[in-house]
């Protein structure tokens, strides 16, 4: 057995017993240290003659490489073991609670306004707004509401003065007047907003939200009105088909006027919109009354169009199964957590209106 073979076999005998970093260092020193066995062999190279040296050097390098590799492998083995050993003692209980945080939510009314805006945006409507305090003229007179109409009563309308000149708007319709007064046709707007009526019981709140729609252009007919509302209802309730009924009605500011009912049924305590043989009134609409157009100086020979109005809170209640209108405005943290929407749920047309 040559010296090198001997070294190799000694190494092999020892490497298996290496367990710790310290053992490893020792064996490293024994073979590769200043006076290590391999080091010494390299030192002895000089004393060999040329022929032998070449062959010996080649063998020596091979064995050096082999042993180094084994040492590296051992090193990784030990380190892995040490890490695993350490990690064994680092186990935490992941079922412990996280740091407390507060979860914010978007109010159902806001969410539904965003849904509605997204739907009407698709067919070219833009959002218009107006003040909450209105003149009697914009809220009633310009909208063809007769002087003695019961809606003008103190029982129905909040006034700021006894002379009834200023009031809290009872509908979003005065924004029609403001929009048409300050621009030129065509008009294609929706108006979501706060509205007020002197009414307070289980199903009425003194403040609620209304959505107004107005489309004035050349040749806009009741057929367009029907199409627009049919589209909206289907999109809003996210159903393919919806049973819808236009029922003649009366509003001072439209002629002809209609109320729109949609079909529904109750299944397992849940309301299903769009089918069934029960009817639910959802909105009022009609062709804008010529007196209204005259009041805002629009040429009724050229322009005509439709308007509609609906309760946003009511739409939210129907879509999301909320049964108490008053709760919308009572700011109960529990109710808001339950019915509120995650701020990241922004209604969009490409991702869908709702989760």
């Amino acid at each position: 057995m040559s010296d090198l073979d001997k070294i190799n076999s000694i190494f092999n005998a020892k490497i298996d017993s290496v367990k710790t970093k310290e053992d490893l260092q020792n064996i490293k020193t024994e073979f590769f240290g200043k006076n290590g066995q391999i080091t010494l062999q390299f030192k002895s190279l000089g004393s060999l003659d040329h022929e032998k040296r070449k062959e010996f050097a080649s063998n020596l390098n091979k064995i050096k490489e082999d042993l180094t590799q084994q040492l590296d492998k051992k090193n990784i083995e030990i380190e892995t073991k040490e890490i695993n050993e350490k990690l064994k003692n680092e186990k935490v209980d992941v079922t412990l609670p996280i740091r407390p945080s507060r979860q914010g939510k978007i109010h159902p009314v806001s969410q539904v306004i965003d849904e509605i805006s997204s739907i009407f945006s698709e067919i070219g409507f833009s959002v218009a707004e107006g003040p909450d305090v209105e003149s009697e003229y914009n809220n009633f007179t310009a909208l063809n509401t007769p002087e003695e109409h019961p809606a003008r009563d103190m029982h129905d309308t909040f006034y700021l003065e006894e002379n009834k000149k200023l009031l809290l708007r009872t509908h979003t319709s005065p924004v029609q007047i403001r929009t048409m007064m300050s621009g030129k046709p065509p008009f294609k707007i929706i108006v979501p907003g706060r509205t007020y009526r002197c009414d307070s019981d289980q199903t009425h709140a003194p403040m609620f939200h209304q959505l107004e729609g107005l489309h004035i252009d050349k040749g806009i007919t009741m057929g367009h009105l029907k199409g627009c509302l049919d589209y909206f209802i289907k999109e809003f309730f996210e159903v393919k088909n919806v049973k819808m009924r236009f029922r003649p009605s009366h509003f001072p500011f439209t002629e002809p006027s209609a109320e729109v009912d949609i079909g529904f049924k109750i299944e397992k305590g849940k309301i299903i919109i769009g089918e069934g043989d029960k009817w639910l009134e959802v909105l009022g609409c009609g062709m804008v009354h010529p007196n209204v157009l005259k009041n805002v100086k629009i040429d009724t020979k050229k322009y005509q169009g439709f308007a509609f109005g609906m309760g946003i809170d009511r739409l939210a209640m129907l879509k999301y199964g909320i049964n108490d209108l008053r709760a919308f405005f009572e700011a109960d943290y529990r109710w808001l957590s339950h019915f509120g929407f995650d701020p990241l749920d922004v209604p969009t047309n490409y991702r869908g209106l709702s989760k």
Partner: protein
Amino acid sequence: MIITIPWLKEHLKTSAKENEIIDRLTNIGLEVEGVTENSTELGKFKIAKVLKTEKHPNADKLKVCDVSIGGKEILKVVCGAQNAREGLITIYAPPGSVIPKTNFELKVAKIRGIESRGMLCSESELNLSDESKGIIELRNKEKDIGKSYFKSSPQKVIDISITPNRADCLGVRGIARDLSSTGVGKLIQIKRKKIKQNIKHQIKTSIKKEKNQGCDIFGSCYIKNITNRESPEWLKNKLIALGLKPISAVVDITNYVMFDLNRPLHAYDADKINKEIIVRNAKEGEMFEALDNKKYKLKKDMCVISDKSGVLGLGGIIGGITTSTELGTKNILLEAAHFRPSSIRKTARALNINTDAKYRFERGIDPESIKEGLELATELILKICGGEASKFQITGKNSQKKKVINFKKEKFEKLIGISITANEIDKILSSLGFKCKKSTKDIKVEVPSWRPDISLDEDLIEELIRIKGFNNIKLIEPIKNRTQDTLNFKQKLFHLAQRSLASKGYMEIVTWSFTDSKIDKQFSKGEKEISIFNPISSDLDVLRRSIFSNLAIYIKKNQDRGYDDLSLFEIGPTFSGKNPGEQQIVVGGLKSGKINRKSWLDKERNVDIFDIKGDVMTTLVELGIEEKNLFVNDNTKYCYHPGRSGSVTLKSEKGPHLAYFGEIHPAITKSLDCKDKNIFGFEIFLKNIPEPNKKLRQSKISFQPSDYQKSERDFAFVIDKIFKIGILENIIREVDEKLIQNVSTFDVYEGENIPKDKKSVAINVTLQAFDKTLTENDLDEISKKIIDAVSKKTGATIRS
């Protein structure tokens, strides 16, 4: 308006089924709100006798009554009525019956420990009148004990909602006419028998000519020698079916004619009229006792029917006690008049009276229905009560002009989108009572006297499409094309602010725009209160001037429910004056409670001003303002803690005011009696957030990262205690805006080793160049510059 099918069929010849009629009604705009079968329910109410009453052992105001409904059985019924007494004959509702007024189904129940089998009813509970003081007292009914009080045969009662423009449909005949136009049946032409009118009209009638006279026509008939009596069954049943209480033949007949022909009438006891009838305006302060047993103080200009002694009735609204008819009445004056809707409305509103007649007159009664109404009523009175009638005396004349519309049929198609033929127009309008005359150019349409609501082409178009059917309109799909922005800049901000705050843990609330003046006052000192003239309640009496008023109320309510760690926000209007437009959109938030409450991980602490400042600053950045343009200063207002609050303005102290933030003033949280008074708030004023003049895609400059090493240096300055660190940081930033990438304060210390009026501030500065790695020399040089600038501008020294 309530109708029954048999009554309808007196005017409409039809073989249609009830369901079909009901559907048709709704489809032509006479919306059916409910259909009930009255007999099965009402049949349960029995005539009963109270045999004995005893005081309830556990309640002072209640009695325990022994009630008999004819058989041997004695029913124990607990009753609260004062007039419940031995021998009284009244109406008994057994368990299982549904009380018409409340729709409440009775059950056998213990009332204060005593079992009660059913109840004894008041008139109001049975919807017979508004009388709710005691239980019904029936006379001469001993023989009927045990029988059903309501004897009507089974019939469907249809409740129709009539829109305010359709006064003509407040009578059965009007509804029949509308139905006939849909082809569901034929309107029956009624031939009236000629009545004998031989005697002389005994009472002079006149309408006084004066300003604002509310009466146009006063028609009347004098009928003498009648025997007023209980109405025959057919008449009583008709009225009961509508929910009316039969009174006497004369009164019942006037009511019947009102519901049948939509023609209100009034009957006076002619012997109680002092000489003559004068229709005139009331004198200011004149008193009048009406049939509802209330006394009214009248105002001038109210239209009254009077005689030589005084007011007999409020024209078209309610009759008076002094001339009311009774069972013993012998001679009557029957009135059919026409009153102006505006006059009726004004008077009824001022006196707060609502009657069936008023309801009809204020919507507009056919002025040409006077004669027909008198004819029908006189005929019935003569038939039921006997007597002799005079000729009708009609004073005044119809002031309404005949309306004729020249209608072009093309207008229909232009507005509705589908066409209609001239024949169709003629057929529909004629069946509704319009007279149509076709010519080459157009159709001359004469409007019937009972349709005050029709005056324009559009009104006729509505009539036509309503009868033709909305379901025949062809739907036109909307075009998906956006030619204008959906939201403007301010609307986008509104939307973004909501999402921004909700994502920071704030719960969005929506509250009234009005609030409690006592609370609003605390948040809006000095500004003028904006009161609502007719508030819904005294704690919702003003428009809110601060977004905090309602937020504070609701944070307290939630605290009271046991929730302490609250973050609430609202975005909405606050008001600065009572004129339209004196309002602005404010985002307001309140945050209370603790951070890390009961956390096993971190120490819990109170919410503090830097939490709220952080929320404001990041929200403003998310709303599009660069952080470096947010200028924070300690300008504040009274509703905040003076030392723990501040403002954010744009770019400099004088810039637009973006927000306030800080601790809510302890005096306010104390007066609100908040459980946890550690409440912080902010207000962001959306109107002051500037719209960028460039779109993002235009304003983003190209991205140039530095490839060189960055370095950091820490400085500790000893500086005047009152010096603002925000300003100190800015001074450092301005030393070299190219090299200095970030400046941040990481420690503030006051106390030992630092002079009393000073503080020590430790600031970390990040430095990086674009063209090289900074050397020790470069760093020393810039450090020196920083120290020099700071000491020159603030007098601070480097802490050794």
